[in-house]
Symmetry: C2
Subunit: 144 residues, 2 copies
DNA sequence: GTATACTCCGGTTCTCCACTGGGGTTTGCA
DNA sequence: TGCAAACCCCAGTGGAGAACCGGAGTATAC
């Protein structure tokens, strides 16, 4: 029941990209990685998945990098996590021992999953950025 | 984001034990296992953890077996899953790269976790048993 | 006292996560 | 044109955990 570092890294990276979105200037892997303490060769793969998932765009060549594919308030955390974690292959016809008990348990588990996904769907990257900014304000207040 | 078979097996086993609780008669591993299609040597380990977690009691020797440690409505699904999955070692002082971004993400993730745990806490074994019974009634209606 | 259960300990196979590395290809710029 | 800076793709590795299997021991009812 904990966040994989895959997803955490992806969220951190997108959080770095968010403020750069309006300018249209791409950010390089190395910069994001060093900023957030992420192994860069690993982050590369995560960004590739995010690109295939249509969440970021890449610019190749010198002075290339990554930028968000759309506005930060149009990307929910659910978009990110589901893209990176790759769920919804749910309907594979693996015989899941279809006793009445198993069905009841499955039912309640989808309820659990929906509760979790509901939280993820209500937050966007924009929300995270604003929370961070608010947090930093508080830090400054305490610092003074 | 899916239920491990560990937890599913444990829930199925406890679901089998629930109706036998009032009689005080223990159920054997073999019976539960064959009833629910669970590898018995594996179920044995799960029941051992449930015992150590105080959810079931064991009776050794001939005509021994397992029975619930308390009433089915006093055991929440959260009790079961947390016992079997063993979470809440949360507070290990592993340095979790304490950037402001990381803190914001951690915050929203605890919200996700709490949403999921909330669902698990509101259901008891008794609820599952009743749901299963209701489900079986429906099945019979359709069968006629 | 013996068959029937649980108990404890160990090993095995498999999959996935979290990386690391070695090539490529595309692009800006001198 | 050359070349370095970036992305792109594929492959492998090490460790951890999941999902088991097996055997030797121990308690208990009959």
């Amino acid at each position: 029941m904990d966040l994989s570092s895959k997803s955490e890294y992806a969220l951190l990276a997108l959080l770095e990209l968010s403020p750069h979105y309006p300018s249209g200037e791409p950010l390089q892997i190395r910069q994001i990685a060093s900023q957030q303490n992420i192994p860069d060769r690993y982050l590369e793969q995560l960004l590739a998945t995010l690109r295939r998932g249509g969440l970021v765009k890449s610019q190749r060549g010198a002075r290339g990098g990554y930028l968000l594919a759309r506005d930060p308030w149009k990307i929910t955390l659910y978009d990110v996590v589901s893209c990176i974690e790759g769920f919804e292959p749910q309907a594979d016809p693996a015989q899941v021992s279809d006793t009445p008990e198993a069905r009841v348990i499955q039912g309640m588990w989808t309820e659990v999953r929906q509760a979790a996904e509901g939280v993820l769907q209500k937050y966007t990257l924009q929300d995270l950025v604003e929370k961070r900014n608010a947090q930093q304000q508080v830090d400054i207040m305490y610092y003074i």
